[in-house]
Symmetry: C2
Subunit: 300 residues, 2 copies
DNA sequence: CCTTTTATACTCGAAGTGAGTATATCCGGC
DNA sequence: GCCGGATATACTCACTTCGAGTATAAAAGG
């Protein structure tokens, strides 16, 4: 049994939320995600990336999770024999340690995906996108219905509701339909800021994963400072999901999960009535997972 | 920027359900998962694996999804410079095309994880396992409480309910506690059949992923024959989850999802009243994902 | 024909969820 | 000092979902 030889590379989607805006760490003025070789000295992939991020950015990395491994033919390294295998990771950085809005290297998610931010209602750009997608659907003869269903489902058309988790499917549809420059579309007719190679697709993968994850695991707290108000927490979740949430219900949800506790202090920096400060209950909850069982169990 | 050189290998967790028993495709008489080199000629990882599985097993592969990429130091290939990167995949094979219970290569999941099958109630082996885990908890002084919480949570002790999704956590705890031969435990004091290198851990990853997935995506149907009865469907889900389900509620769940339709025929092979046969509604549902939104949305 | 076995259908109460409304406490201006 | 704006916090209600139990239907076999 022979083993294929390949180049191994790590790519990181590092996110933080500052000023109610979700941001991603980039290089080349926002054109690429940070990446580097997988050094042989590392104990594991995870450890390798953690070390490397620490060196490169100076930010301590909280949560870290593997995203996906890509090895498509078009990823072949130019001057080398063999191909490149890219292993991508999602990492979360605390707001405290993260740089401010203006700092270099960090760019807002929605610069690359303006159609994903629904906090101010359905973005206007979606009208133009769905019009172009309809043309693309109409241009197909054989499997037109299938295309139509995919578009309707992903973009919340024809009765379907907008689902914030489907960011990757939306990007992939737009790629297929030739609406992004990465797919060869001229910049004037494309949507959102593009990135080097398939980095924008990897970013979409990271965003989709994080949006799905905040619903069943308490990862938001990896993005929060030590103490925070409930409104701050809600606005952070809203920034990530690209949606506005119902305030009373959000608070009910948070407190029935018993994920946080009052610090005893309050802040009046918010304008109106002072808000109580809370902290995440690290100790108790390291192993917590919402049961979320959708199977009809029987207890015998 | 240099790129690290590495050996690339694909490892597959191929599962089927035959005779109400979940099975995995193995090599070396059940001691290892099938694996092979990542050939340079393939278009992508996915395509590479699909082709390779077809050649090796003769079974057409339905569903295929990437599981995880491993590259720990202990995975280094003996005779080679550099290390091995193992990219693992989860694949589902239809019962029809799958071999019967006796055929070589296929082994039951619960041979490797006897504590994971709760269809006949809590397995007796769990008593011995938790006893040994309690010793392990007690042997720690500093972070004992943390260990205790991890064990209680993963194994459904001290008020916590058994959660079938936590199979990987359970295996990892048992590994840490030295209860499996892969961790150096003598066979007489270990639990479950072991596998080569970290293959059993990869199998646990696949099982956990599949158990979680059946709750929010209709992947079970990838394991069913063209037409099936509701009881058959339920027993397949039960086999995967390692749990018994409440029949009336299972049927209600299935039919409110509108995932299946009657074929018009019935079968009386089941003993009692003849059961209606159903088929999966492929066409309509290729893009379906249960919304499962746990965020308190507001609709403005 | 009656019992056993499996399939299918209906009901009920508890819990969860979406949505709206009411009260509390600060700030700043008059 | 009082009042309106702004934000925080608390409560209520209807509707849906979900776990659990019960009842009826249709076959096979003695």
């Amino acid at each position: 049994m022979t083993i294929g030889l390949a180049h191994a590379e790590l790519i990181a989607v590092l996110s933080a939320v500052t000023g109610d805006e979700p941001r991603v760490m980039t290089v080349r003025s926002g054109d690429a995600l940070p990446s580097g070789p997988f050094e042989l000295g590392h104990r594991s992939l995870q450890a390798g990336l953690r070390e490397w991020v620490g060196d490169q950015t100076g930010h301590p990395l909280g949560y870290l999770e593997q995203l996906y491994t890509f090895a498509d033919r078009d990823r072949t390294h130019e001057d080398a024999e063999g191909r490149t295998i890219s292993i991508s990771y999602l990492g979360l950085v605390r707001e405290q340690a993260a740089p401010g809005a203006g700092k270099p290297g960090w760019h807002g998610w929605y610069e690359y995906f303006p159609w994903e931010d629904h906090r101010g209602g359905r973005p206007e750009i979606l009208a133009a996108i769905t019009r172009r997608l309809q043309d693309w659907v109409a241009s197909e003869t054989a499997r037109r219905e299938h295309r139509q269903r995919r578009v309707d489902f992903a973009f919340g058309l024809d009765g379907a509701a907008w689902n914030e988790d489907l960011g990757l499917q939306r990007y992939e549809l737009m790629y297929e339909a030739g609406l992004v420059t990465e797919a060869g579309c001229p910049p004037a007719k494309s949507f959102g800021r593009s990135m080097f190679a398939d980095h924008r697709r990897i970013l979409a993968t990271g965003i989709a994963r994080l949006r799905a994850k905040i619903k069943y695991r308490p990862v938001v707290f990896e993005l929060m400072p030590e103490s925070f108000t409930l409104s701050q927490l809600q606005r952070t979740v809203e920034a990530l999901a690209g949606l506005t949430l119902h305030k009373p219900n959000f608070r009910r949800l948070i407190d029935q999960q018993e994920l946080i506790e009052e610090t005893g202090e309050a802040t009046s920096e918010t304008g109106g009535r002072p808000a109580k400060l809370f902290r995440y209950r690290h100790a108790v909850l390291e192993e917590r997972a919402l049961s979320g069982s959708k199977l009809p169990l029987s207890r015998n």
